[in-house]
Structures are given as C-alpha cells and as structure tokens.
Symmetry: C2
Subunit: 161 residues, 2 copies
C-alpha cells in the first residue's frame, strides 16, 4: 500500500473504532435511560445522540456524497440547546438514524482513495482552499473523530458504575 | 507539499489544537477547582490532568525520543484509579509538567517527516509490524488525540455554566 493510502487507512480505522465504541456504549442504555443527563444540568444522552447523528449526516453534503438523510434533526440538535424543543423522533427511530447514517458514511469512506481525502470539502471556497490545502476532507475526518470522542467521554459518565 | 506530508500535517494540527484546547480549559480552573469531579463520583480534574500528562509522557519512549520526563506519575494516574493514592505533586507542579511534556512532544513532532510517522512504535514487535504496517506511530497519534478529546469532553463539564 502506498504511504498516503496507509495514512488514510489508519485515520479511517480510528473513525470506525470511535463510531463502534459510541454505538456499543449507546446499546447499553435502555430507551428510558437515554433521558439521563451526562452530568447534573448537562445534555441528555438523547440530545447527544441526535446531535452526533445530525453532525455526521451533514458530512454527506460536505463531501459531495449526495443528499443528506435527516436535515430535520439540525433544528433540534444543532441550532438549539437541549430541552429547548421537544424531541421530534422516538428513541428507536433515532437509534436507527444513527446506525444508517454511519453505515452509509463508512461504505462511502471505504471507497475513498487518498486523492479523495485530499479534496476540498464543500464548506471551504476554491480560493481559500488554494491558499491552504490543509482544509481538506481529511481535516474534517480528524475533526469529526475528535468531536465524537469528546461526546463519547461524556456519555460514558451516565453509565452505572 | 507532498500528499503524505500534507496528511501528517493535518493530523498534527489536530493534535496541537486539542492540546491547546485542553490547556486553555485547564487554565480557567483555580488550583482548588482542580479538586472538582467531572460528575458525581467520577474522576477529579486533578486526576485527569495527571493521567493525561503520564499518558503523553509515555510517548517519548513509544516513539524512541529519549527518556520520558515523569515516569513516577504512572503509579498514581495510570495504574491506580482516582483517590486510591494521595497526589504526589502540587497543582502548580502538575500544570508545569503538562506544559513541558506537550511542548517537548510538539517540538519533536514538528521535525517528523511522514516517514517518521510511518515507523513502527516501540510497543509493537518487528514481526507484528511486518504483518500490519498500520500499527505505526501515526496510529498512536490518532489514538492519543482521541483519548485527549474524550477526557476534554469530561473536563468541560466541571466548568461553571
């Protein structure tokens, strides 16, 4: 494998591992337990699941992979803080959305070459990308893996000791 | 910049950004506040600072960068859970250790070429590395960036709202 492909494979493995850990952690909570907060006065597990599903769903658009699946989640789980609006979906439906979004993303990422990862993402202009080629899809993958790890660290706190 | 160098630069930027965010978050707590737990019954900020300093300090050895600086932290902040042992250092000293370890690591990483990142790390055997070249230093960087993000997500919860 060429060096640049190997680097992309390592980073994608890290994404898959983190998505897998988050899914596994979620599976240990009942639907009722998803109403728990990660700490007193902080986000509910349900909100974080909605938030991460929405943020990952946006990657379809950012990476020119076609239409995203659940744009209606943004208002509830990105634009507004927890409990500002009622949850628009059931726990079962939200779990399914999480699973579907990530399965489809991983299927797409598995087909990416290093050249695909080095392309600009849709949220940066051609001009800015020409000035700074580090603003590529690979940088977004790094950022989103960290974002997921950040919230995974919180969700873990709601588990029974 | 060659593609493989660009990929390494992007990943290193992500490491630096996360270390910077953690440092900034820490700076917002007084020494007394470092005794706060991230959630009821969970790790203190002090413990997590010790834990992350020790885990990062181990990278000197893993990457053949010479002797690590604070091996004595491991017993308190890796081998044992929070509150099993008294803290062996003051908050001021621990903050300084965190800063020193990370500054030295970043100085070393800034000199790494992509070839350096693709080398095996010290915790994998030559034989295992030959079978799976993805077990390289770059994979460790990915893993440690995620580990730091995971605990950053927890530390943030102790901030006043």
């Amino acid at each position: 494998m060429a060096n640049e492909e190997l680097l992309c494979t390592v980073a994608l493995n890290s994404w898959k591992l983190t998505v897998g850990r988050f899914s596994q952690t979620l599976a240990a909570f009942t639907d009722e337990q998803l109403q728990k907060q990660v700490a007193p006065g902080r986000n509910r597990l349900f909100y974080l699941l909605g938030h991460l599903t929405a943020v990952h769903d946006r990657l379809f658009t950012m990476f020119d992979l076609g239409e995203r699946l659940y744009p209606e989640l943004d208002e509830h789980y990105i634009s507004n803080p927890d409990k500002a609006l009622p949850d628009p979906v059931s726990a079962a439906d939200l779990r399914n959305s999480w699973t579907e979004v990530n399965a489809r993303l991983i299927a797409a990422f598995d087909r990416f070459s290093s050249q695909d990862w080095l392309k600009k993402h849709a949220a940066v202009s051609e001009e800015d990308f020409a000035k700074d080629p580090a603003r590529n899809r690979f940088a977004v993958l790094q950022s989103r893996t960290n974002h997921l790890s950040f919230h995974l660290g919180q969700v873990i706190l709601a588990k029974e000791k």
